[in-house]
């Protein structure tokens, strides 16, 4: 009885903490890295005062946010107002349950992993909408409206991209999808090559779904102050912030898993040396590769933000519906042909 309890309850909770706690710390460091990178791109220094190289800046900000007063606007809906940040955060964290970090390291090796991810990312929009409505503020409501329309539009493009991956991999399980990208041609066995347009569309949709620049009209500082979270302060705002950045890191990980071979090494099949474990991973693949890939993808978010001006709202809609979705639909058929005629090798020597 006690053994079962430990196996079914205690260990999963420990595993969940092993994912969420480093994730939250990663968010803090990612915020610091974002400010540093954008600073360098603007020929500034970025945060440099607190701790060595300003490394502790993010933690100072967290402490500042936590001890600030949480303000409830007049006539705001109290229950929904405080519920909204949690509704934004829960799906952002829950989606990490099915992410495989290496061939063995996965919390839940669910068969319908990709569907679960789609379900979780589509739930995140409720936090934003409810925040906008419960704040009893025009700016917040406008931000929520924009965000809802944008997330729904780009979810379609994202879903079609996932369909292409599913067609090639033949599975909804994320571990199987990564294994389907194994082969003897190194990084040319990954899905980014046969699915190159889809890879680009997936990442653009990911940027739009997380409401990041250049698709950040939901925040639109120059038009609607800060959008849906304009009335939030202190820890409630911090939770929105955490959810947004956790989602960014999630999209980076997903792009790495679905299109860049997850934990597989870019040198797979090229080197067959027999070496000790601490150096072997360079060609046999390990979680380190996944983290490197995800880091590069997340860097793109920051690069976009420092480079592109914000899209106009109608331009965002046109890009989503009239450019990305048609290309993705065509590529679903192309992927079907690739699979049917065997133009790509799936998971050779996995």
């Amino acid at each position: 009885m006690a053994d079962q309890l430990i196996n079914q309850l205690v260990w999963p909770i420990i595993f969940i903490l092993c994912i969420t706690v480093p994730l939250i710390i990663a968010v803090a460091m990612f915020v610091y890295w974002e400010r540093k990178v954008i600073g360098w791109m603007h020929v500034r220094l970025g945060p440099s005062k607190i701790g060595p190289f300003g490394l502790l800046q993010a933690f100072a900000d967290v402490v500042k946010l936590l001890i600030k007063e949480v303000i409830l606007p007049t006539k705001a809906n109290r229950f929904l107002y405080f519920m909204a940040p949690l509704l934004a955060l829960i799906p952002a964290l829950a989606a990490w349950a099915v992410i495989p970090f290496s061939s063995k390291m996965v919390l839940s090796n669910a068969n319908a992993g990709v569907l679960y991810l789609l379900a979780m990312t589509s739930l995140g929009v409720y936090g934003i909408i409810i925040a906008g409505w419960a704040s009893n503020s025009r700016y917040a409501l406008l931000g929520a409206m924009r965000s809802a329309a944008q997330v729904i539009s780009y979810e379609l493009a994202m879903g079609l991209c996932l369909v292409c991956v599913l067609v090639l991999a033949g599975s909804l399980n994320l571990t199987d999808i990564v294994n389907a990208q194994a082969g003897g041609k190194g990084l040319f066995d990954w899905f980014w090559l046969p699915l190159l347009p889809v890879f680009v569309i997936y990442f653009i949709s990911g940027v739009a779904e997380t409401n990041r620049a250049p698709f950040d009209v939901a925040e639109g500082e120059s038009e609607i102050v800060a959008g849906f979270h304009v009335e939030y302060s202190g820890s409630a705002f911090a939770i929105f912030f955490l959810a947004e950045y956790a989602n960014m890191i999630l999209v980076s990980f997903l792009a790495s898993i679905l299109f860049l071979g997850g934990w597989l090494s870019p040198l797979q099949g090229w080197i067959h040396a027999d070496a000790p474990g601490w150096i072997n991973w360079i060609w046999t693949g390990s979680w380190v590769w996944l983290f490197i890939k995800a880091f590069v993808m997340s860097f793109l978010f920051l690069w976009f933000r420092a480079t592109f001006p914000r899209y106009r709202y109608d331009q965002i809609m046109r890009l989503g519906w009239k450019v990305l979705i048609p290309i993705a639909i065509v590529w679903v058929m192309v992927a079907g042909c690739m699979k049917f005629f065997g133009w790509v090798s799936i998971g050779v020597g996995a």
Binding site: A112, L115, S122, L123, V125, A148, G159, D314
Partner: protein, 216 residues
């Protein structure tokens, strides 16, 4: 704790949430709250389906209804300016009609369930587990082989519905101003901005400049 007991506890917990949320959909006075209760109903119904290994249906319910349909619904309801008092006025007037509709639906549902219970045997084993496949894979194989024609017809009907919805709402208004996307894309920067080449500095006079004020 054995798995069956745990499953049973989960079933009752999700079932209770489903029923409670469904009841609050029709009892809550605030329309936005009612829509959110409906979202909760869908979500816990999806959890119930998950318990009987119908993972594809459960996740599709969340993706389609919770993630898209209800968001748009919420979108509309939030924009409405509903007078709560006026909404309650018609309660007595519409009560008889409501009761008749409720009774008819109850009879239909009982009839359907009763007929099923008389004719069908106890449900067999889960066909997906019997075939040794995951629920999604089994459903996909069944839809694309055994039920291909009904599936295609359903897709066709949905497409017709989408086209009809667009055709009904797409009306050209005479006084509306549209931006032509193709014109915007074709714009050449040289038509808008003229870049003038000029020296970065003016040539300095030979005479020494007057002492400048020091800037703070």
């Amino acid at each position: 704790m054995n798995p069956q007991l745990f499953q049973l506890i989960c079933f009752y917990a999700f079932g209770f949430v489903t029923v409670a949320a469904a009841l609050s959909v029709i009892t809550l006075k605030n329309t936005v709250h009612a829509v959110l209760a409906l979202v909760l109903t869908f979500f816990s119904a999806a959890c119930l389906w998950m318990l009987i290994d119908a993972e594809f249906l459960a996740l599709a319910l969340i993706v389609v209804y919770v993630g898209a349909v209800m968001v748009l619904f919420l979108f509309v309801v939030m924009m409405l300016d509903i007078d709560q008092e006026k909404m309650r006025e018609g309660f007595v007037k519409f009560l008889p009609v409501g009761l008749i509709v409720a009774a008819a639906m109850l009879v239909e549902m009982l009839g359907l369930i009763g007929v099923r219970a008389m004719h069908a045997q106890v449900m067999g084993a889960n066909p997906a587990t019997a075939a040794g496949l995951s629920n999604t894979a089994w459903l996909g194989q069944a839809l694309y082989t055994k039920f291909l024609l009904p599936f295609e017809i359903a897709a066709l009907i949905l497409t017709v519905g989408v086209v009809a919805a667009v055709a009904l709402t797409l009306r050209e208004r005479g006084d509306a101003r549209y931006e032509s996307a193709s014109q915007q894309v074709k714009v050449n920067p040289r038509d808008r901005v003229r870049i003038v080449k000029m020296a970065a500095e003016r040539p300095v006079d030979e005479t020494p400049a007057p002492p400048q004020e020091s800037t703070p």
